[in-house]
């Protein structure tokens, strides 16, 4: 009975029926390739998961160069369930980025970015960059020697950008070199700045999805099955996928807890055989392709310019692909998409194996 009164209370003040109507009328296209629709929702789930486990960890982590490394060891060894939460946050992050890449590449290859959904691509791309920066900044909070070397290389690489390089490097490091100042900065990025931007951009992304509905690939437009209602059919399907994913994360977290290396020492030599996180491997391998000097110019700078140009082109694909925008088959951009996917996969695998 109380529930009835609560319903009335809300109903007298807000348009519940309107919201109900919206959900009742939300249908999702159904076709041979609709399984890729799950990647977006799954990314959202993993982000929520990261927010929750991250908030928990933030209660104990000490963002100060002297104590950071020790505080993580304390979280893992002394706190109730500390090992679990650190491990969950680690694996949640890994999977979030993996699923995000699946989401990006399926969007790219199914041309879901085409008119009128260009802004979905733009907000999604911003989230991709933010996620990678989430990964880098989170990794650095360990303050072990690997993280230290990785951030030195990453911020040093940004320093090779022409014109703005010095500014970007100084902004990221907060100092001439990677120091305790950098830790403070990366902590601020990781727990305050990036999460707020994420909420805003992801919110916009989700609202735009509601506005446009799901994109149907050009090849499937004449072969669609009957659209499925979002509620309850797809709502429950989404929940099933999320639940399986939760199971995977917890299993990985329990069986493969992440390591932590020796505390960072700015004067120690770089550790042997260091490798960046897997989502940086394609950049790492690309940099290896370039010699130190090309025609008297710094090879790094040239490599960074080429990589930046390739990423900028990727970002602008919806605006270059005029054929898709006109709802026509666009083979050129299919091949471009395949090229990006193959390059990313091959370079990541090579980086992983060598």
């Amino acid at each position: 009975m109380r529930c009835r009164r609560l319903k009335d209370w809300v109903g007298e003040r807000y348009d519940i029926e309107g919201l109900r109507g919206f959900i009742r009328n939300k249908y999702v296209p159904s076709h041979r390739l609709d399984v890729w629709y799950f990647a977006g929702g799954l990314t959202l789930f993993l982000f929520i998961f990261q927010f929750i486990t991250g908030m928990a960890l933030a209660l104990y982590y000490v963002p100060q160069a002297e104590h950071a490394h020790k505080s993580i060891i304390d979280i893992v060894t002394k706190l109730n369930m500390g090992w679990l939460f650190r491990s969950l946050h680690h694996w949640g992050g890994q999977l979030a980025i993996a699923v995000l890449f699946v989401h990006v590449f399926s969007t790219l290859l199914l041309k879901a970015y085409r008119k009128p959904r260009e802004l979905l691509w733009v907000t999604g791309f911003v989230m991709l960059i933010i996620s990678i920066f989430f990964g880098l900044s989170g990794y650095f909070l360990l303050w072990d020697e690997r993280a230290f070397a990785a951030v030195r290389v990453a911020t040093g690489g940004a320093g090779n950008l022409p014109l703005i390089g010095g500014f970007v490097k100084g902004f990221l490091r907060g100092d001439l070199d990677v120091t305790g100042e950098t830790l403070t900065r990366f902590y601020a990025f990781h727990v305050a700045i990036l999460p707020l931007v994420t909420v805003a951009v992801t919110g916009l992304h989700v609202v735009l999805v509601q506005l446009h509905g799901m994109s149907v690939p050009l090849s499937q437009q004449n072969r669609q099955r009957k659209p499925e209602p979002f509620f309850p059919n797809l709502f429950y399907k989404d929940l099933i996928v999320w639940l399986i994913c939760l199971g995977v994360v917890v299993t990985l977290a329990a069986l493969f807890p992440p390591q932590i290396g020796v505390k960072a020492d700015p004067l120690a030599p770089a550790p042997e055989n260091i490798k960046p996180e897997w989502y940086f491997l394609f950049l790492f391998q690309t940099l290896k392709l370039f010699p130190g000097e090309i025609a008297g110019l710094n090879g790094e700078t040239i490599a960074i310019i080429i990589i930046s140009a390739a990423i900028a082109f990727f970002f602008l694909i919806p605006f270059f692909d005029r054929r898709s925008a006109a709802e026509r088959q666009s083979r050129l951009f299919t091949w471009i998409g395949i090229f990006y996917l193959v390059y990313f996969t091959v370079m990541t695998v090579i980086g992983f194996l060598t």
Binding site: V153, F290, G292
Partner: protein, 156 residues
Amino acid sequence: MKLDYSLVTRRTFLNTLFGGWLAALAAGSAYALLRFIFPTLGKEPDFVILNKGDFLDIPINSVKPFAWGGKLGLFFKKENGTTEALKGVCTHMECNITYRPDVKKFYCACHKGWFDESGKNIEGPPPKPLEIFDITIEGDKLIIAKKGVKVALPKA
């Protein structure tokens, strides 16, 4: 409303006034914010002063680290007994290098760069040789300075 002899309407005038005021406010705020978030960067030291006794007696074919500002410096005694001081930071991506006495070379583990005994880049991605410092000894002080920097110690 527009007066006969006026070039603009009252609305345009007010919009320009408020718009200009807002733009000035935004520019000022952005300037202050940018100044705040970009730290004033220090610079690398021109020289550091170390204790002679801590360094000169190291065994041959070995290095001893010292702090060059926030970066790694290496004091190096070659096989033939001559000494050298250099910046222990790879010229490729700024990783700290290490000395490998078995092959008498400097090695950077990040991207497998190699430098020979004189700091010359010989293999891998490093684009430039290592930075070599000047060494001077005054009393019991070991002064390591950037090439070409004159260091005058105050007379005690």
